[in-house]
């Protein structure tokens, strides 16, 4: 197992290198360059000043030179200096990371709990009204435009009913856990909806397969309560493929956070990304995209490892 993990970790290096090359190329292809953000402000700027600005940012150099310079920094943990704030990118990301991880974590938890309840119950009551409702909900989860769903929830629970705060991470001047959790409910619900849908369907079909196996029949035959058969015996095997899908989707939560954070003014990385995009802050964009990609690659590995750890029949050698 250790050897397998080490080998996989080593394989990540060329993949991540490829990712940085592609990302750098895409970011550099931006028409207008970083000075375009300055020029948008509609006032005359001396061309010499623009040249000096470009030189100071280092974007006057050929792209390969910039790339090597940037990569050299990344290897040493330096993601460069943000164009718009002139602060280190890594510092800015670390500052925002807790908010995003909190949102992702809460969404993951909500999605996992609901998906398990929904998935298992639909499976043991196949073709019941509950099962059909679950199927309907899961398709809704996939077809619903995220921000529309968010706006509807905001309108209903925050504006009309006034139960929950409209946006933000906490009320100004209030420092309490309850206030914090209240702010978390809406964005986390929105972000988790799609995964509740996907995972519960997946668990349902996996459960249905396991419930038909001989060992489950044996467990029932020897008189075990149905509750024990389902939740202890069957679920244990049914959960294996689902867990690896869940690990894979963890990185998808990062993508979803971009929209969700923007709607709910959640002070995380997703919202910072949108700001950086409009400001053409290349180093910050690169830093965030690299972080997101690293998450994807990392959780891919986690998914495989978890799969092997849960299913003793799978051996990686």
């Amino acid at each position: 197992m250790t050897r397998y993990v080490v080998r996989r970790l080593l394989q990540m290096i060329p993949l991540l290198l490829g990712i940085t090359v592609l990302l750098f190329a895409v970011i550099q292809a931006a028409p207008g360059g970083p000075e375009a953000a300055l020029l948008q402000q509609d006032r005359f700027i001396d061309p010499a000043a623009i040249e000096a600005y470009r030189e100071r940012l280092g974007v006057d150099q050929p792209v390969p030179v910039q790339y090597v310079r940037w990569l050299g920094g990344v290897v040493r943990g330096d993601l460069g200096i943000s164009f718009s704030t002139t602060r280190p990118v890594s510092e800015m990301i670390l500052e925002r990371l807790p908010a995003t991880l909190e949102l992702m974590g809460a969404s993951f938890l909500i999605a996992a709990v609901l998906a398990f309840l929904l998935g298992v119950t639909s499976a043991i009551r196949q073709y019941s009204w509950f099962d059909h409702l679950g199927t309907g909900l899961s398709f809704l989860g996939i077809a619903m435009p995220v921000f529309w769903f968010a706006l509807l929830l905001q309108l209903l629970f925050a504006v009309r009913l006034g139960w929950l705060p409209v946006s933000g991470r906490s009320t100004v001047g209030v420092e309490s856990l309850a206030d914090h959790l209240l702010h978390l409910i809406l964005p986390a619900t929105v972000l988790s909806f799609r995964y509740v849908a996907g995972w519960s369907r997946y668990l349902r079909s996996s459960m249905l397969e396991v419930l038909r196996t001989d060992y489950v029949r044996t467990a029932r035959a020897k008189g075990l309560p149905e509750r024990v058969v389902v939740w202890r015996h069957a679920l244990r095997n049914a959960v294996i493929p689902v867990v690896s899908v869940m690990a894979l989707n963890l990185a998808g939560l990062f993508s979803g956070a971009v929209i969700t954070e923007t709607i709910f003014s959640w002070p995380g990385i997703g919202r910072m990304f949108v700001t950086a995009m409009f400001a053409r802050d290349y180093p910050l964009l690169m830093g965030i995209l690299l972080l997101g990609s690293t998450m994807v690659v990392f959780f891919n590995l986690v998914a495989d490892i978890v799969y092997g750890a849960l299913d003793p029949r799978i051996r990686y050698e």
Binding site: G18, L140, P145, L152, S255, I259, V274, F278, V296
Partner: protein, 280 residues
């Protein structure tokens, strides 16, 4: 029984999929026929009837310039559905090509193409799409190509797998023995046999692209007015959500219905095209 009639028989049994197909076709036709069907002119301003709630004259209400919402949804659907279809064609086409070439030639070509697929697959799609969309003057075609360019990877992997299976079959060897070129074998023999997963993937891609366009619209990076899409109608309606909720509810419903139908259809197609799926 021929495989085609078997396919239709299986699909018909999937009542939800058939209903969805009907919905998709009807909505598409209605949007296509918008200039004839729409009760009002697309941009007809009527200042005496601004911000009307849904009623007998304006079925879905009017906006702050008195323009008929139902009419605008019909016209908006033309662009939204067009983007969905185009993006699906671009993404599926490119993905199939990459997958087929990689699977058919194998070896170094395969390695190179699949590593490239891995790289693109590892970058979070929506953030990258946001960056790319901010470069282009968003028109329907460039938007579709951009979305397609980031949604081909799953198709490529699936098609490659299918091609690897098909390549080992005897009839491919026979075709090669008869002197058929690689291009001919791929387009005539390999791809038609991998058509199942390709069609299913393409169907789901249509819904996905419509959703992505609406997400981009939310950030102001989608199709720009005066052209209308369901996505940018939603964005415009955000500020009036409290006072005129119908302006955001109906375009959202339009997206929801079409994407839902497309997904049900994809689900039904999957069952109908998979010979191993159990029939119930």
């Amino acid at each position: 029984m021929s495989s085609r009639s078997l396919f239709w028989q299986r699909l018909r049994r999937h009542r939800l999929a058939v209903a969805s197909l009907v919905v998709v076709v009807l909505v598409s036709l209605a949007c296509l026929a918008a200039p004839i069907l729409a009760p009002f002119e697309f941009d007809q301003i009527d200042l005496r009837n601004i911000r009307q709630a849904p009623g007998p004259v304006h079925w879905l209400g009017t906006d702050d310039l008195g323009r008929d919402l139902f009419t605008r949804i019909l016209f908006g659907g033309r662009v939204s559905i067009l983007i969905g279809l185009l993006a699906a064609i671009v993404g599926t086409g490119f993905g199939s090509l990459v997958g087929a070439v990689a699977g058919y030639f194998g070896g170094r070509v395969d390695g190179l193409l699949m590593r490239f697929t891995d790289v693109v697959f590892s970058i979070p799609t929506l953030p990258l799409l946001i960056v790319l969309a901010s470069y282009t003057q968003a028109g329907a075609v460039s938007m579709s190509v951009t979305i397609g360019a980031l949604s081909w990877m799953a198709t490529a992997r699936v098609v490659r797998g299918e091609v690897l299976k098909i390549r080992a079959m005897e009839y491919i060897e026979a075709a090669r023995g008869l002197g058929a070129s690689s291009t001919r074998i791929i387009t005539r023999h390999v791809l038609p046999n991998a058509v199942g997963p390709i069609v299913v993937g393409a169907t789901l891609a249509v819904g996905n692209a419509i959703i992505l366009e609406s997400s981009l619209s939310f950030l102001g990076l989608g199709i720009q007015p005066p052209a209308r899409t369901w996505g940018n109608m939603l964005m415009d309606a955000q500020s009036t959500m409290q006072t005129e909720p119908w302006l955001s509810i109906f375009p959202g419903m339009a997206i929801l219905i079409v994407v839902l139908a497309v997904n049900f259809l994809g689900d039904g197609l999957q069952d109908a095209l998979d010979p191993r799926a159990e029939t119930r």
